[in-house]
């Protein structure tokens, strides 16, 4: 039995569904961020699977390298995004003593 793209994609889709469930069902900001990170991991896995399979290998020989480069950039941006989101959560906690996203609507200008 060989490893196929479908095996990797099914893992990725399950992780995506779990992450979406987490985002929709929670109102704690940090919980939602953790769920978004699960979705990010699923998206990264999907990107690398689809760039690694040799479906247009003749016309796009450097497709695997381009997928890897996009993945490197995505990981860097995700690290920056986590820093911003956690900083906002800490600031919200300092002001309101909780991190409930329902309360965030009161911060509208």
């Amino acid at each position: 039995m060989m490893l196929t793209a479908g095996m990797f994609l099914s893992i990725s889709f399950i992780m995506l569904a779990i992450g979406i469930y987490g985002i929709v069902s929670r109102r704690n900001m940090v919980r939602m961020l953790l769920s978004a990170e699960v979705i990010f991991n699923a998206a990264l896995l999907t990107l690398l699977i689809l760039s690694s399979i040799p479906i247009h290998a003749a016309t796009q020989p450097d497709k695997p390298a381009i997928g890897g480069a996009i993945a490197l950039l995505a990981i860097g941006i995700a690290a920056a995004e986590i820093g911003v989101a956690i900083s906002i959560a800490i600031l919200l906690f300092q002001i309101k003593q909780h991190v409930d996203v329902y309360e965030l609507r009161k911060f509208r200008g």
Binding site: G22, D62, I82, G83
Partner: protein, 165 residues
């Protein structure tokens, strides 16, 4: 046991770990444990990247994502406390929504052209990745670097800020 079977065994083990740790990240009561399992999810994802041939991306994922980002979350949430959960109807709606999305992707997976293509056994080289980054993605690389620097400045500013200012 040949190499391909070994790859399959490694894939099954780390796929199960990835799914279980995703569920624990969402469902565990303690935020600290949830963040710890996010790190385990990152590690198992890195192993899956290695199976796909992206060794350098896996190392970067371990160093930057698991080593820095998840550890940052882990240390930051010790300063926070848990907000109450949503009501049951919202969770039921979320479950229905999730099942709908999962069913959609299952249909795509069953009818997809990519499904039965075996994953190739190559390793994307450091040279090819660096070439793609410098020639095709120099501008996104610049933006990503600027974003990281701005995040650093923002984190320092927020950390030095007094409450109420």
């Amino acid at each position: 046991m040949n190499v391909l079977n070994l790859e399959l065994i490694v894939f099954i083990i780390f796929a199960i770990i990835a799914i279980l740790s995703s569920i624990i990240v969402i469902e565990h009561k303690s935020l600290v444990y949830a963040a710890s399992f996010l790190a385990i999810l990152g590690i198992s994802n890195a192993v899956l990247f290695i199976l796909l041939g992206y060794t350098l991306v896996a190392l970067f994922h371990l160093a930057v994502y698991v080593g820095a980002a998840v550890t940052f979350i882990l240390f930051s949430i010790t300063m926070l406390k848990e907000a109450p959960l949503t009501d049951i109807p919202t969770r039921v709606l979320a479950m229905i929504f999730t099942i709908f999305i999962l069913a959609t992707f299952t249909i795509i997976l069953i009818n997809g052209v990519y499904v039965n293509i075996p994953t190739p056994s190559f390793i994307v080289s450091y040279k090819a990745l660096a070439n793609a980054l410098i020639t095709k993605f120099w501008f996104p690389l610049l933006i990503a670097s600027l974003a990281l620097i701005v995040t650093l400045i923002e984190a320092i500013t927020l950390a030095r800020r007094e409450v109420g200012i």
